[in-house]
Symmetry: C2
Subunit: 187 residues, 2 copies
């Protein structure tokens, strides 16, 4: 993952990392398979019963992970739609990328107190989305096995704050710093 | 797919088919693998270079299809975000489910005139989303190999209208009618 970020990632304004050529608009499925294998190495012994992610760019990675773990994949939706009915677990999330507050939700039909949940997402920076997903799992009374992240911006506080809660967070690439001229340093 | 719809699909108000227990909120990856195999059987000889889908619920299926075809998967985004830059192909889409007009877009970096594109989506009803995706591919000057759809509501006009344009549309399940009492008939 680190190699691929150095090869194809682009830094914008010193704080935004663009990886949409392989991760979150165009998706390199061979790379996703390798990521899924690594998450399986890390969490394969944890009796995971469900993969949870959030639309949209987490879904592709999560599906390849679900294939490895042979369990269902559930994604949290960002807005209630006409097709969603019945009760749902919800949480408020403040997006760093979009600069707005939105609600995420998962139908109560798809998270149960007996579930052992592995959360998968593409990015971890301020931890807003991950905190929202953790809150959904807790509302369901399910067990959080941990979180598998493709890229963590370790210079932002999300990862450490969530680890301090005792949640296992495994990131395939941890970025220590990014500079205006596009240089990227890993932890 | 037809068996699974009869087993787990639910009809609401005679016109909405809820399949979010296996297709578009909770995702059954084993089923997605079978669907991908069927799309490979149908389009495997067509020299596909790119899979195109639309966020959010098309992404999971498209990723498993991309794994089979060993080519990149690109998803159209529904709104321009801060992270998207540069030029993009765009189209307007009127959503049947959400009752609203939105713009879809794909960066020009990920669709080229040399591409042979297989479009994948979960639903085909009025054909709004698929028409938008076709327009993006045409704007790129790429070749449309065809469209692979999980569920087509054949009693709505989208599929026939698009086939009349000479585009090959293959749907894994084609619903002829749905009734208020939840009965589903296939073509």
């Amino acid at each position: 993952m680190e190699e691929r970020i150095l090869k194809d990632g682009k830094v914008k304004n010193g704080s935004i990392l663009k990886v949409d050529s392989f991760l979150n608009q165009q998706m390199d499925i061979g790379l996703f398979e390798e990521m899924a294998s690594e998450f399986w190495r890390l969490f394969g012994e944890c009796n995971v019963t469900k993969i949870l992610t959030i639309e949209a760019s987490g879904i592709g990675i999560a599906c390849l992970v679900g294939q490895k773990f042979k369990c269902p994949v559930v994604f949290a939706k960002k807005n209630r739609t006409k097709n969603m009915s019945g009760d749902a677990f919800t949480a408020k999330v403040e997006s760093f990328t979009h600069g707005q507050l939105y609600e995420i939700m998962v139908s109560k039909d798809y998270l149960h107190s007996s579930d052992r949940v592995l959360i998968i997402d593409d990015f971890l920076a301020n931890g807003a989305a991950l905190t929202g997903l953790i809150s959904l799992v807790r509302d369901a009374g399910a067990f959080i096995v941990g979180a598998g992240i493709a890229i963590e911006k370790a210079f932002q506080p999300g990862g450490d704050a969530i680890r301090k809660q005792g949640i296992r967070v495994e990131s395939l690439a941890r970025i220590k710093s990014m500079s205006e001229d596009g240089r990227i340093e890993f932890c």
